[in-house]
Subunit: 671 residues, 2 copies
């Protein structure tokens, strides 16, 4: 069979596996697979360095399907090239418990880099992967030893480019000259409401050029050789990321739906599938047909991959001989394990600290104490590093001139920052952190959610965590953001009460390797709690703990973060009134809720129904801890512009109020 | 005094009012006022059509300070041009209860168009205003009667342009050829982490040209005449929005901080203020000095404004004579009042409906029933209109070719969509709605928050509201989004149970003129509740109501949206078991919580402690309604890819489970 015949056969095999899977599920997106398969095939068949037998091989090329709705195409490719994904798996497309969910899900689909679907996310994930790759390459490669050297590819769609996150990420990729980043743009001119021209008339080439990208094309996305040449051209430019504009037709081959929005998001229908088979010259009338020649050709990926990985292993061996320490470090970084004694410099970091210190500043000290041992800690802020205190003092500034540096400058681009961090985490070899004000969590909710879904170790530092922000006013004062973080499944949120709890929070975050952690930190100074008199800060590990107790407590006061000091003060006021109060620090709901019920009952015994919570944020959800008889002190409205201390007074976040409420509760008063 | 002398004097007056206010508050951002005042002064002094004595005059030009941190400059301008903002107000900058908060807040500062601060939002708000202006102009202007005709101006900063939302909004503005949109870009090359070149090296001119904008400059932002010429050039192009790139220096005039990040976000310090006075030739050593010549010159804005508005009033009078009906309609639209009988076509809309219907589809029917009377209802979807069912069938497609049309195509740009809608609402004359899947609320949280803060009537339609989405899987299945909506102060969220509740929800949303409303709608079909047997749907107005009661109920089952039908079914199962259950529909927490305690106690009496809530979303916060003894049935993790009905079974969202839990509760069983 001629080369072009085999190409066509393979392409149609992929297309119809996708189309048939969608048809069988009676749900899915056939348009993109029919249009984007040729370009994706060229990439996988002629360029992609990967080993289906070892999907996590560290020096593989990364491939991202940013338009995740084309999942069926990817599943077909994974099956045909020999990943651990069977034809039966594909037949279970979009069904309960299957390994082929509606959108590609990391952790469920073998060989998948990242979960995609929400548009624009994959685009930015790829930038994070390329950042991580360059950092490892710059840190570990030695003359004659290119031990880290791979590309990051993605298929991106109109929707990806319309979302603002792609502009943010593209700008950063161009600035950083990430030449090993190559994106194929499936330019099909159609989105759900019709022709993209109704709303999307950008000159994409100009736009990407303005951000420092090489733009290639438009090429005919169905012309195998043209796509191949374009990919070679992209690889040849090592200084600029490349966007290859591939003109395609959505739903290509479908006589009645090609080029129409109708091809996008629903099965073609049995009749149309048959017509499409005819039009594309696909003789197999039965569904899920895999011609042996196509399988044989595509399965060569296994041999190629094995060979490529073997060669790399040999290179690694030579590297290990020449640079045993570096090799050891690289492997440790890639393993994701924390090095021996990684947290030993935290011991007693704040023991001598007697002056009040903001938890953001404490966090900065913790990070800098950790950084020398935890080499893989790499991250940055969305243009707020001086305020978030997240600069690693010896880390240098990551740029095209210094890819070894550890401080990233994300610019005022929280959304891309979040998704880039996820890409870095999934690349491996780095433990990424991000930083911004808590209020701007709102700008980066989608990537935080996806990181939680993927179970990635990303550390989000959110400072300026309440009305304590002060004069900047309600636009900058978080109210509902804390409950927002708590509402995300598999995200652990920690709001430490002081410097010592901050150190513990960092330990939790770094040890947590199956999900992201948000550290919620104060702008204002907070007293360093006297651990000689109070319970140790290690209680943070359990999410909540008795900070100060009284014999047979009558009332429990629960605080988090900056309000714990207020709770302690209220305890003193109550003691003066002869009321026995227990003070509970509850920095993390998720960690606390995960404790055995016995422990939780020890901290919050059912017998003590007089409970008060105080937190400078939305009261939503605190009923869980204070119960029917409790009182929630929070802020059920937006904040206000005034000095932080004034706001605490005016909004009733005071020890006096807590004490009064407690006394009132004990008198059986109205809540 | 020469013209150029008076210009300089005015500019310095503005600058030092800002600098002094910041210094007195010991908090604020002096860098932008020092750099951006000249260009802003030119705009206000020579172009801006506004009347300080009537800030809400409908045909005024709109001015947005997208970089809201430059607030002190704006307050100085408002005071000096004669708005109801005194020098004493300015001296209270950033203090509790003042009218000059840290960032510009609509509703607090007189003469302010929109609340700004979170970067990029103001940029997109302006696009919304320009959209509304063109719509009203196209709808109401008649030959010889240009009754609607004004510009929308904004000052935008590096940060605004780095945020992805500005790319989204710029693309849409270019596509729509909003020629009356003119933005001045304060290009000062500095952001908080240092020179913008560390992360922001875009060719801004190219980028905006790629989106169909006219780009003017760079001009010297301190050259009054150059800025004036640029503004004239911008006005001359009626086909394209214009971006004027003004090169400026942050903190201009400050000998030690000009051109440095240090000038951005903290007071200059007393000494540096004095040095700056010297450098800028400002002789007034005392703070808050207003030279009489400067005041006299700037206060001319009042006479100009009065005259401009008078002329417009005369035009309006002539228009009213020539086109009395149109004038009447225009005034009604501008008033924001709903027309007589606006909801009369909703009566009995679903009375004959017996087949199950998705609430998204019901909403589409409601919108189309409302549209003929509620002429000002204008909006659209982020490329999901066929799925969100939000097309107004007679509305046409809003485009440069038809500005009268009512259906906007926002593209896959949820973030800009939200902010554009806010700009439309603040412009007036239109009641905007947006639409997307509930999961993509995450992409538009910042503008929803700001709309709530501003108290704007925007209607957010969020469909595909739960795991009922089905096969698309966890990336598309909302879990924590509903509690997210509920957590935003002053946002009303309604999740109707069926078509009849959907109609009521729309009534609430339209009548609510002091804040936004989110309508949360199902993808899947839901039975239309038999209102002959059940309580009327008007209960929605109170947020929660007894849908079906039993004599002396032993257990209360509370549901929302698609789970109400399950609750009713559970009630039947319980009846068979001889258990008396009350079924409560609770479509809106906010509306219910706002009811008098007596009403709430009627619906959820303290005496019935056996309560079960069922909602296909995060359980967070339901303790408020079920209490210490209740059971919350929800989804405390991410969803899964499978048919929706399968998911409901697998995740335990079934009548059987509700009934079992109820029976168990009554037996005094473990929760």
């Amino acid at each position: 069979m001629s080369d072009s015949r085999i190409d066509e056969l393979c392409i149609n095999t992929i297309r119809f596996l996708a189309v048939d899977a969608i048809q069988k599920a009676n749900s899915g997106h056939p348009g993109a697979p029919l249009g984007a398969t040729p370009m994706t095939y060229v990439l996988w068949d002629r360029f992609l360095k990967h080993n289906p037998e070892d999907p996590e091989w560290p020096d593989r090329d990364r491939f991202i399907l940013s338009c995740g709705h084309a999942s069926a195409m990817l599943y077909a490719l994974l099956h045909l090239t020999g990943y651990d994904l069977s034809l039966d798996d594909i037949k279970q497309f979009r069904q309960w418990g299957s390994r082929t969910p509606g959108h590609p899900e990391y952790g469920i689909v073998p060989g998948l880099e990242v979960t995609t679907g929400p548009l624009g996310q994959g685009f930015a994930n790829g930038v994070g992967m390329a950042i991580a790759e360059r950092r490892l390459a710059a840190s570990y490669n030695r003359p004659g030893h290119e031990i880290v050297n791979h590309y990051t590819y993605a298929i991106v769609s109109d929707g990806d480019l319309e979302e603002g996150i792609s502009s943010e990420a593209a700008s950063m990729a161009g600035n950083l000259r990430l030449g090993k980043l190559i994106y194929l743009y499936d330019d099909n001119g159609i989105s759900i409401e019709g022709k993209t021209s109704i709303t999307f008339t950008e000159d994409i080439a100009r736009r990407f050029q303005s951000c420092g990208w090489q733009v290639i094309g438009p090429v005919n996305g169905f012309d195998i050789d043209a796509v191949e040449s374009a990919l070679r051209e992209a690889q040849a430019d090592s200084e600029r990321p490349s966007l290859i504009i591939c003109r395609t037709v959505i739903g290509y081959g479908s006589p009645n739906k090609a080029g129409k929005a109708a091809a996008h998001g629903e099965p073609l229908g049995e009749d149309e599938v048959q017509l499409t088979r005819k039009q594309l010259g696909w003789d197999n009338e039965e569904a899920f047909a895999v011609p042996p020649e196509a399988l044989k050709h595509l399965r060569k990926a296994r041999d190629r991959g094995r060979k490529q990985q073997d060669e790399w292993q040999q290179k690694l061996e030579a590297y290990r001989q020449a640079y045993p320490d570096a090799a050891c470090q690289l492997e440790e970084d890639l393993s994701g394990e924390l090095p021996e004694g990684w947290d030993s410099d935290l011991d007693g970091l704040f023991r001598e600290e007697t002056k009040p210190i903001a938890t953001r500043s404490a966090s900065g000290l913790v990070m800098n104490a950790l950084a020398p041992r935890v080499r893989s800690l790499v991250g940055g802020s969305a243009d707020l590093a001086p305020s978030t205190k997240t600069m690693l003092s010896e880390g240098g500034d990551y740029s095209a001139a210094d890819y070894r540096a550890r401080n990233l400058h994300f610019g005022i681009r929280e959304h891309a920052m979040g998704a880039i961090a996820s890409g870095m985490a999934r690349h491996g070899g780095v433990i990424p952190y991000t930083a911004t004000f808590l209020i701007f969590y709102d700008y980066m909710r989608p990537p935080v959610r996806l990181a939680a879904m993927m179970g990635l170790r990303v550390i989000y530092i959110f400072t300026h965590d309440s009305v304590g922000v002060g004069e900047d006013g309600p636009t900058h004062q978080p109210i509902e953001q804390l409950v927002g973080l708590r509402s995300v499944p598999n995200l652990v949120t920690i709001r430490p009460a002081d410097a010592t709890e901050t150190a513990e929070a960092w330990k939790v975050a770094l040890k947590r390797d199956n999900g992201p952690t948000a550290l919620v930190l104060s702008r204002q100074n907070l007293p360093v709690l006297d651990r000689g008199k109070l319970a140790p800060a290690s209680g943070v590990q359990r999410g909540g703990y008795i900070l100060q107790d009284a014999e047979k407590p009558e009332v429990i006061i629960i605080g988090t973060g900056s309000e714990v000091a207020i709770a302690l003060e209220a305890g003193e006021l109550l003691q003066e009134r002869g009321i026995r109060a227990r003070i509970v620090s509850l920095p993390s709901w998720e960690l606390f809720d995960a404790q055995p019920v016995e422990y939780r009952n020890t901290v919050l015994p059912e017998s003590v129904k007089a409970r008060i919570s105080i937190e400078a944020g939305s009261p939503l959800g605190w009923e869980r801890y204070v119960g029917d008889n409790g009182v929630i002190i929070g802020i059920p409205h937006f904040g206000s512009s005034a000095p932080g201390k004034v706001l605490y007074e005016k909004l009733g976040l005071t020890a006096q109020r807590v004490a009064d409420e407690a006394a009132n509760l004990l008198k059986g008063g109205e809540k």
